[in-house]
């Protein structure tokens, strides 16, 4: 027989095999394993001193414990003792002394001491990576941090601040990812070139939390197993796998077929369909992310308060929230997300073309001019941008979209080259100052200052007085008064600012019926897998 004959036969065999592959209609994940589909392509590192992305924060929260932390089943209660069992504040409010709790052990078997805590916080300040501002805003610098954050013995950690701050502000900041406590001994054993273990901690973890990372394939999956030395109650899920799945439709298919337990990035349409199906459910959670547009005050026309008012009226808030954003965003018009201290629920603007036209007529630019909206290539933002374009065009403005990748759009924004920027903002730490300090603070509006960290600066909005008011709120120790100060600020901000805050995100998690207690962290923190049962 010739070779060709044989190859023909192989082809037939292969064809038969193709037709014969059939999977069981419904698979199921093992009972002690939690499988989650999520977009995790933003993870660059697991190092708490450097990690600053959503998916990274999810991992970090399950791997590292902090001095104080949120209880996943009662997020509204605010920070609770975790590695620190108690703390005392000095009379002048500048020294906080923490007493460490017993029974917390790192995955390596080393007990957690005050020295580890001091090392971790000092390390974060010294490495000076992007999120370090969360700590350095209290006056720590690489030079002084060894003095300012100090373990006086294994049980006592003394933190000295540069001035008095609201204690809630300081402790809220310590619940952020950067407050994660690492195992000093293990980390320093893996140090290379004086990097304080930075390279090693990118891909490895050394925490005392319920899980440890055993495998990470960037853009593919993160695999976590139980931390054998975990001091708390043993979690029901022994293994957690987070798989990177970009498409909502794919996540839904996988959920329907039982390949995964939880799908975290579902579109409104897919959510609607999952709600209808037996054996599946959808759980909503309010998140901290805001969707807003902002007008660059370097552009003459956009500084006109009446024109800005017209633009704010000419946004189809409810129309968007009820159609393509259905269930994923709720209309929200103040810079503090709901569930934050001092959040403002008032929504002064509705979609009202008459008011918009009236305001525009009163402005110095009744014809409106050409306006470019800078937006990144991402479906929901594109949809919002197109809706803005549509309604603002009806005002008579000549609106065009400048679409770019996330990085391109951001570059323009930071260089203050945009007209209108359409973007999202998520809080960095669960304290009102995280947003107030950027939407309503601009210490120096000059180009030279390069204060790109402040959204007010990026829009060239010069507000010396409001800056003072906002900064006054971070030292107010009476929580009631503090909340009141933020509410007043936001009311003013809604009217005069060049920011059009439109929506707050709601995360809709599709899951199998049997999954209980999955909490992705609300507006304040990240996901907690250790309380999940199924």
């Amino acid at each position: 027989m010739t070779k060709t004959n044989r190859s023909l036969r192989t082809a037939a065999l292969l064809a038969a095999l193709m037709g014969g592959v059939a999977l069981p209609a419904m698979a199921e994940t093992p009972p002690n394993m939690l499988v989650i589909a999520n977009r995790i392509d933003d993870i660059k590192t697991f190092d708490p001193a450097e990690s600053f992305e959503f998916a990274g924060a999810d991992v970090s929260r399950n791997v590292y414990e902090k001095l104080v932390n949120f209880d996943p089943l009662d997020l509204d209660a605010g920070f609770q003792p975790e590695l620190a069992e108690s703390w005392e504040v000095s009379e002048d409010g500048t020294v906080i002394t923490f007493t460490m709790a017993e029974g917390h052990v790192f995955a390596s078997g080393n007990p957690v001491t005050a020295k580890d805590a001091a090392f971790s916080l000092q390390r974060a300040v010294k490495l000076d990576k992007t999120p370090s501002f969360i700590l350095t805003q209290f006056g720590f610098t690489p030079d002084n941090v060894d003095e300012m954050i100090k373990a006086t013995d294994d049980k006592t950690l003394v933190v000295t601040l540069d001035q008095k701050y609201a204690v809630s502000f300081v402790l809220n900041c310590l619940t952020a990812t950067i407050g994660g406590i690492v195992d000093m001994e293990t980390v320093m054993a893996n140090e290379t070139d004086g990097d304080m273990g930075s390279a090693w901690l990118r891909t490895n973890t050394a925490g005392s939390g319920p899980y440890k990372v055993v495998d990470w394939k960037p853009n593919e999956s993160v695999l976590m197993d139980l931390n054998p030395s975990y001091g708390g109650e043993t979690p029901a899920m022994q293994r957690v796998i987070v798989q990177h799945i970009q498409e909502s439709a794919t996540q839904r298919l996988q959920l329907e077929r039982g390949d995964i337990d939880i799908a975290r990035n579902l579109s409104p349409e897919d959510v609607a369909s999952i709600k209808e199906q037996d054996g599946l459910k959808v759980v909503d959670e309010l998140k901290g992310r805001l969707m807003y547009w902002s007008a660059n005050q370097k552009k003459e026309m956009l500084t006109d308060p009446k024109l800005l008012e017209a633009l704010k009226w000419a946004v189809d808030y409810q129309g968007m929230a009820d159609s393509f954003l259905n269930g994923q965003y709720t209309v929200h018009q103040a810079f503090l997300p709901l569930t934050f201290l001092g959040a403002l629920t008032e929504k002064p603007f509705t979609y009202d073309m008459d008011k918009a036209k009236a305001a525009l007529a009163e402005s110095g630019y009744p014809d409106c001019g050409p306006i470019e909206i800078s937006v990144r290539e991402a479906q929901e933002r594109m949809d919002i941008a197109q809706s803005l374009q549509n309604t603002w065009n009806q005002l008579g403005c000549d609106v065009s979209l400048i679409v770019g990748t996330g990085a391109q759009t951001l570059d323009r924004y930071r260089a203050r080259e945009h007209d209108i920027y359409l973007g999202a903002w998520g809080p960095d730490y669960p304290d009102p100052n995280t947003n107030a300090g950027t939407f309503a603070v601009n210490p120096d509006n000059s180009d030279e200052s390069g204060n790109t960290g402040y959204l007010a600066w990026r829009n060239a909005w010069d507000i010396p007085e409001m800056t003072q008011d906002t900064l006054a709120a971070v030292v107010e120790n009476d929580t009631e008064t503090r909340a009141e100060m933020y509410i007043e600020l936001q009311k003013q901000h809604q009217q005069v600012s060049p920011f059009g805050i439109m929506f707050q995100q709601i995360e809709q998690h599709g899951m199998r019926e049997n999954v209980q207690n999955f909490v992705s962290g609300g507006a304040t923190t990240a996901a907690s897998y250790w309380v999940v049962t199924k």
């Binding site: 439709a249 189809d316 129309g319 159609s323 393509f324 290539e377 809706s387 979209l401 679409v403 990748t405």
Partner: protein
């Protein structure tokens, strides 16, 4: 001249002039093409498409850009939306019709820019010879070694997304084969007697290349371009799909598929219909190109 005599004139075995001979050759080719049903089908689809694109304002039932958030994701056939509506309530049929303009525009531009680029580089290399030839051809090889879609992506990413930049990027990745063809043709032409004669008359290299070499290269380039049309459409749609081609709200077909992919499970038509449109036009180009190849390259021909 009546029709009958025109036909006779074209079919004559003894042409009276060069003009008649070449017209007769074209006519014979046309007759052959006409017998190829598949190629004719492709041609008809393309003519319909071009007419459709020209008359878009007449054929479209609605403004392709106007949104109606109350009438989103309607199924084909509801409320006079032949192909339904998309996620922003825009009429898909109207968007398709206007989108045809974009596709044709891209194809037309690339079909001019890429061969021209290849022609210049190829003829210069072939005519000049020596070190210039080596350098230019090495340059061509470098571009050939690139993954094409990735190169196009890189160019668009560097230039910024948009139709014109997509055209430029596709052209920049498509020219090397044309350069090779043009160079090969030039090498055979360069040493022919008539070029020597023109040289003796004192014509400079620029004049020889543009006036005498180019016209002779063009026919082989045209064949190749026709065959590449479908590929151009698919690449452009691929760029649009990745968000790097025509920008919203422009109704580019690849971008429409990309927008609709989010809804594919429950609202199949939003992504499927523009995808079918891309497939149809690219198949039409392929059928026609294939038929033309049969006519022009007898070695490949079927009976």
């Amino acid at each position: 001249m009546t029709h009958q005599t025109l036909r006779d004139w074209l079919l004559t075995d003894t042409p009276q002039s060069r003009r008649q001979a070449s017209a007769a050759a074209w006519y014979a080719g046309w007759l052959k093409l006409k017998r190829n049903t598949l190629a004719m089908a492709g041609l008809i689809v393309l003519i319909a498409l071009i007419l459709g694109a020209l008359c878009a304002p007449l054929l479209a039932t609605q403004d392709p850009f106007v949104q109606d958030l109350g009438a989103r994701l309607l199924a084909p056939g509801t409320d006079g939306h032949i192909f339904g509506t998309d996620s922003l309530g825009r009429d898909i049929w109207s968007r398709l019709i206007y989108g045809a303009r974009i596709s044709l525009y891209i194809v037309a531009l690339v079909a001019v820019v890429a061969p021209l680029l290849g022609l210049i580089i190829g003829t210069v290399a072939g005519y000049a010879g020596g070190i210039l030839d080596v350098v230019l051809m090495r340059f061509t090889d470098i571009f050939l070694a690139f993954p094409r879609l990735i190169l196009a992506l890189a160019f668009v990413a560097a230039l910024g997304a948009g139709i014109e930049n997509a055209v430029l990027a596709i052209s920049l990745t498509a020219w090397p084969p044309y350069a090779r063809i043009a160079r090969a043709e030039t090498l055979t032409i360069r040493n022919s007697d008539f070029i020597h004669a023109i040289k003796l008359q004192g014509a400079g290299p620029l004049r020889i290349i543009t006036r005498h070499v180019w016209p002779l290269c063009i026919s082989s380039l045209v064949i190749r371009v026709t065959l590449d049309m479908a590929g151009i459409i698919l690449t452009a749609a691929g760029l649009g799909f990745l968000g790097l081609g025509a920008q919203p709200p422009s109704p580019e077909w690849g971008a429409m598929v990309s927008e609709g992919r989010k809804y594919i499970l429950d609202y199949w038509w939003v992504a499927t219909i523009p995808g079918l449109a891309i497939f149809t036009i690219s198949l039409a180009f392929n059928l026609l190109g294939d038929g033309l190849r049969d006519v022009l390259d007898p070695r490949e021909a079927g009976k």
